[in-house]
């Protein structure tokens, strides 16, 4: 009933004392997923082949309501039904069963610049896009300068939008959208627009919108934003509401869930990788160091393609792994764990006073930490051909959550040339505990005092 552009209707409802902006009552949404693309006319008419399809339950009996003036965040993993819910509220799709009631004019920012035509100028597209979003032409005329000003595209406004960069395109889309000024705004991950300065402007607009008592419903994976902006958060999973309530509670619940999921994923992934490696492992590599199993036998014959390796080959690094305190091989570690990074070297020639080292880098290639036996003032002595050496680095994990790669090396005592250096031979997964951000752990004592 209350499509965009029917403001008076919404206001009447609000005056009558109903403070519910959106009410979702036991809504279920099933999608049909066709096995063949689209049934052809021939098939349908002649029923030559019954088209088969699967049903996908996107939302399962979901109920909640949002009051006027509330800012509500929808969070959940991909495929949990967040976007389906927004589309239902925006009337783009219809529920399979259940009811959705909307009091007030509603505008959905599911995509910025929807309906922009590349051949038309920015100015022409403003009018079309605004009309699509339900704005009257005289309102657009009045707000045109605001819209252009906000987008910071004054110089380009009479240029066809096909010449715009994607950032300019989004900026123009956002500028139109925020000037529609509905009672209820639906936002789907569209706040990450443009550069930092423009984003700050976008957030300010959203804040102003909130302050003026409008209702906002946001879908975002950015939990910081959600806990910042929202007065209420709904956590969806597999089409069901897992929990709803105060942002901090719900967000931390969701974080715990993601962490659990991430752990499982890493274990699965490493299990799969290990399987693959074991299949092609060379006989000699399946040995065990000091009676300890090596968690990941990074076999060089299969990693040869991806691993950058150099050195004379007088000594070869044959495997590497991560062990816990009890010398058990582990797939991942957590912040604060005591771990041992172990690698094994086989000498092919006699080498005098070699240097053993490691380097740990993050996914961007930043060196997080590196050390070697010389820096630790360890005299290594002479190794004979055929000697097998185990190098162990024991440390407490003070890495921020994420994946790090380890490059082990054996160098000659001139500290310049190498017997063997294998880039990114091994990776360490540190489970996210959300203690800090950045590269270094300063481990500060923090205090706040009030006079």
């Amino acid at each position: 009933m209350n499509g965009a552009g029917k403001k008076h209707n919404g206001e009447r409802t609000r005056k009558s004392g109903n403070d519910t902006a959106v009410a979702v009552e036991s809504v279920t949404k099933r999608y049909r997923i066709h096995h063949e693309k689209i049934p052809s006319l021939k098939q349908t008419i002649l029923k030559l082949k019954r088209t088969t399809y699967e049903e996908f339950l996107a939302l399962d009996n979901v109920s909640f309501s949002i009051k006027h003036g509330e800012t509500c965040g929808l969070i959940g993993p991909n495929g949990s039904g967040k976007s389906t819910l927004l589309k239902l509220m925006a009337k783009i799709i219809q529920p399979t069963s259940g009811k959705i009631m909307v009091n007030g004019s509603l505008s959905a920012l599911l995509e910025l610049g929807a309906g922009f035509h590349p051949d038309l100028t920015g100015r022409e597209n403003i009018y079309i896009n605004a009309a699509i979003l339900g704005m009257k032409k005289k309102d657009v005329d009045r707000k045109l300068n605001d819209i252009i000003g906000f987008s910071e595209l004054e110089r380009f406004i009479d240029m066809p939008v096909k010449n715009y960069s994607s950032g300019m395109y989004m900026r123009l889309g956002f500028s139109v959208a925020i000037n529609v000024n509905p009672d209820i705004l639906l936002v789907d991950e569209v706040l990450a627009v443009g550069d930092q300065a423009f984003q700050a402007k976008c957030y300010k607009v959203i804040y102003d919108f909130m302050k003026s008592g409008k209702t906002i419903i946001i879908v975002s994976h950015d939990l910081e934003t959600i806990s910042d902006l929202c007065s209420k958060v709904i956590f969806l999973r597999d089409g069901k509401i897992i929990d709803m309530g105060k942002p901090l509670d719900i967000v931390s619940k969701y974080r715990a869930y993601i962490e659990e999921l991430e752990k499982k994923r890493i274990i699965e992934q490493q299990r799969a990788e290990r399987k693959k490696i074991f299949k092609t492992v060379i006989e000699g590599n399946r040995k065990v160091i000091d009676g300890e199993e090596i968690s990941r036998l990074s076999n060089l014959s299969i990693d040869g393609e991806t691993i950058n390796r150099f050195g004379s080959g007088d000594a070869e690094i044959i495997n590497i792994g991560l062990l816990d305190k009890s010398k058990k091989a582990i797939d991942y570690c957590s912040y604060g764990d005591e771990v041992r990074l172990v690698y094994k070297v086989l000498f092919k020639q006699d080498v005098e006073g070699p240097i053993f080292g490691i380097r740990i880098t993050d996914y961007r290639g930043n060196i997080i930490y590196g050390t070697n036996s010389r820096l630790n003032s360890i005299r290594t002595g002479v190794f004979k051909k055929g000697d097998e050496v185990t190098v162990t680095f024991s440390f407490k994990v003070t890495l921020i959550g994420g994946e790090y790669s380890v490059s082990p090396a054996v160098g000659y005592n001139d500290n310049k040339t190498y017997c063997d250096w294998i880039n990114n031979m091994f990776s360490i997964n540190v489970i996210h505990r959300n203690v800090a951000e950045g590269l270094a752990d300063l481990n500060p004592d923090m205090s706040i005092e009030k006079k």
Binding site: G3, I92, Q94, L110, G115, D119, L120, E124, I132, K137
Partner: protein, 264 residues
């Protein structure tokens, strides 16, 4: 249906905006602009005139005018249907992201083509004036015929645009259907040339009746030997079939509309 019209009315600005966009996009970047849309019927007219007056010698006086005064209204129908068929799918980015009454999309196509049609008619008036056709005699009938044909065009366009979302091969089929319709309507030949026993079938096609009106209004005012408006029964039948197609198109569209966003 009534509430549908009311909603549509509240979205009229969007409808006009999209119609304007259709027209702008069509003529943007071409130096001749709107003249291109005149060129198409003129070229068609020249080709058919050559074939029928010089090769086949059909013996129709001023064949070009005979043809063009029905070709223009028929093009209004066929262009709307042809462009309208893929219009919902072609605007999937809108249908998937924003709510508005979906009939606005095919309607904007119809309106853009209607606008073209009117401009072409204006050009036709100039030509008729130069050639001294007394086209003003029955001119009062013209708005009525155009008005009724408009409903036929809207009904057909709504129907095919909605069905095409679910049966994509309609897109290919529709070109053939429109070709059959073109030859099944007395556009390039007079109805009197058709054997008596086929005339009955041809008159079920409302475009046959409208063609007869257009031709009487524009052409037969100068060459009255073939003149003769359709009978009241024939006219009412055409009107009935037109309304049938219009309501069928509207209700099929409204019935399928809620599923558009999921299917594209």
């Amino acid at each position: 249906m009534f509430s549908g019209i009311k909603t549509l009315f509240s979205y009229r600005e969007l409808l006009f905006s999209l119609t304007k966009k259709e027209l702008k996009v069509k003529y943007r970047g071409s130096a001749l602009g709107f003249l291109w849309s005149l060129l198409n019927p003129i070229l068609t007219m020249l080709v058919y005139s050559f074939v029928f007056s010089i090769v086949l010698r059909a013996g129709i006086q001023e064949f070009a005018i005979f043809l063009i005064c029905v070709l223009l209204p028929f093009n209004f129908l066929s262009n709307s249907v042809n462009y309208g068929t893929g219009s919902i799918i072609g605007n999937s980015n809108l249908v998937n992201k924003i709510y508005f009454p979906r009939e606005i999309i095919p309607l904007s196509i119809v309106l853009a083509n209607f606008f073209n049609f009117l401009l072409e008619l204006a050009a036709l008036f100039i030509v008729l004036g130069i050639l001294r056709y007394p086209f003003y005699i029955y001119l009062y009938l013209l708005p009525i015929v155009i008005f009724i044909q408009f409903f036929l065009v809207v009904g057909m366009t709504l129907l095919v645009s909605a069905l095409n979302v679910f049966f994509r091969d309609l897109q290919h089929l529709i070109t053939i259907i429109m070709m059959v319709w073109f030859f099944g309507t007395p556009v390039i030949y007079p109805l009197s040339m058709v054997p008596e026993r086929f005339q009955f079938i041809m008159k079920i096609n409302p475009m046959t009746i409208y063609a007869s009106y257009y031709r009487n209004i524009f052409y037969f005012v100068k060459y009255p030997e073939g003149a003769g408006f359709p009978s009241v029964t024939e006219t009412l039948t055409a009107l009935g079939i037109t309304l049938l197609i219009f309501f069928l198109g509207y209700f099929v569209f409204k019935r399928l509309e809620p599923r558009f966003a999921e299917e594209i």
